[in-house]
Amino acid sequence: MTLKKVNAIEVKNVTKVYRSSNTETRALRNANLTIYDNEFFTLLGPSGCGKTTLLRLIAGFEDITEGSINLFDQEIVNLPPNKRPVNTVFQQYSLFPHLDVYENVAFGLRRLKKDESLTKKRTMEVLELVQMKDYATRKPNQLSGGQQQRVALARALAPEPKVLLLDEPLSALDLKLRQAMRYELKTLQRETGITFVFVTHDQEEALTMSDRIAVINEGEIQQIGEPEQIYESPSNKFVANFIGEANLLSGFCKTNGENGLCELYTGHSINLFVPSHIKQNDKVTIFIRPERIKIVKSSKDKSQLSISEFTYLGNAATIQLKSNEQIINVNLPIEDLKVFKKGDYVDIEFPKGSAQVID
């Protein structure tokens, strides 16, 4: 069975420039992306890269400078926020302080002029969903951060939006709660079937929760893909470094093509795919994750690689190898913890498919 994917949101050539009297900030540059219906889609990037800006453009809080945005094939850039069937969970929750929990959650339904019994039914339903039914008569300032978070979620879910926008909703919570909420949010998304557009700067959050991720840097989309794709084959150095740990090793090309060959400055040769625009003797950067590198014992006369740092982590260890000014990070699996120690001479192997030439 193949289901045709429905486009929930299409962002087309979107540029956003903030202008004030003396400065211009290009928050987004020619961004393109498509978010499918029922998807948990994450915008991931460092602080200030333009994630919130993109979210606010979708919600309608900012005027677009260039480009267009479609919501289920309908152009929305000219609609005011109240005419867009999307709802937002704000980073600082922004609950209405003068209304109690019930009225906060019922707010959208009331504006939509739903009748009283339906409003009540739906409000209690979402409060139940986020386990805040017992707090309906409390004011927001009588709630903990985690509870406010749930109310903010309920408030945005109550009018049954087609798309839910979440701006770093977990960043204000402490670690334990944050981890619990990750799971809850993911479950909530699956159960409601609402498209989630989730903003975070936390790569772990993005990897664990998302169906697909768009990595953004300085207003430009770097890569869009499933978590495995982004982690296993980052499209450039920024993505490689931002997601997880990465070794970016310098070397030069010996032969290109499907069965190419590169030599690192450490003297090691690697068999890997080398794109055809790279010619013999061109400089290349090779990307490999620390956990993919295999190390074996060696001796001083056979290898110039030695363990210069050994960091014990309990269930694993990270080590640093140094040679010719190059540093290689390697993760040691638990069974090798006792085998190696600082100062040992070692040799490394790159399993097939673990390394990649990167721009």
Binding site: S20, F61, P80, P81, N82, T88, F90, S94, F96, G108
Partner: protein, 270 residues
């Protein structure tokens, strides 16, 4: 031990030598005269400064003095007309300046609104007088109301602006996001959250208007005398116990209004 003592000695301002004494003198100068004034307003003697016994006679006399009553009514009419007008204008100015986005002369407008707070009142008074005279505007009490409205605006403006600035702009966006148009966002979110600020702006404008002397003295013609101006004319003829009584009443009234102001102010800040 000694070093530690030395270090902590001036940590709090009340650790300075003589701090307590100076404070007492300061508060004494401020409040003893007021206290004495209130006490002597209950004096039964005709001479202001000789205590002969407790009585409400001067208060009773106040209520049979037509001039004082007219002046009081004038004061109240002016304050109840000028303070709301000033508050409304101040509210819209604050909304435009804080929520109006970037526009030309924004900083300049903000300065322009608050500047009258720093202009010596006598300058404003003379200017207003000349202004009215040269345009031939002479509508009695209405002149006073116009003048009061104008100079009360900055006082009403400041607490309203502060309340608006303290308000999370995302609240209005959240309402818009939840299918609320501009009008209903203003009615359901902005206005209720701004109410304490507006009320405290109103109180401030009201007290300032009730209390004003210099501008009123210049602008008010015969028949539109307000209470402070009338009291001044009474004092010129000698301090009578009646002045004490009327001043005490004004004091009580001001304290009441200022308490309301603090009450609303506290609501903004939490």
């Amino acid at each position: 031990m000694l070093a530690k003592n030395k270090k902590t000695k001036f940590r709090y301002v009340w650790n300075f030598p003589g701090f307590g004494g100076w404070t007492a003198i300061f508060f004494g100068f401020l409040y003893v005269p007021i206290f004495v004034l209130v006490c002597y307003s209950f004096n039964s003697s005709k001479f202001a400064m000789i205590w002969t016994g407790f009585s409400f006679r001067w208060y009773a006399k106040l209520f049979s003095n037509d001039d004082i009553q007219t002046a009081t009514i004038n004061s109240l009419i002016v304050a109840f007309a000028a303070a709301p007008l000033a508050t409304i204008i101040a509210t819209f100015s604050a909304l435009a300046l804080v929520r109006g986005g970037e526009f030309r002369f924004r900083e300049f407008s903000n300065g322009l609104i608050t500047l009258p707070l720093m202009v010596p009142e006598i300058v404003t008074a003379v200017a207003t007088l000349i202004f009215f005279a040269s345009l031939g505007i002479n509508f009695g009490l209405i002149n006073v109301i116009i003048a009061h409205t104008v100079f009360c605006i900055p006082f009403a403006f400041m607490p309203i602006k502060a309340a608006l600035e303290a308000m999370d702009p995302n609240l209005e966006l959240a309402a818009r996001d939840l299918y609320s148009d501009k009008t209903s966002t203003f009615k359901t979110i902005t206005l209720p959250l701004l109410t304490p600020g507006i009320l405290s702006g109103f109180m401030l404008a009201f007290v300032i208007s009730i209390d004003d002397f210099i501008i009123t003295l210049m602008v008010a013609g015969g028949g539109s005398t307000t209470l402070p101006v009338y009291i001044y004319s009474m004092v010129k003829m000698g301090v009578s116990p009646e002045v004490n009584a009327v001043s005490s009443l004004m004091l009580g009234f001001s304290i009441f209004i200022v308490s309301l102001y603090w009450f609303f102010n506290r609501k903004i800040n939490n």
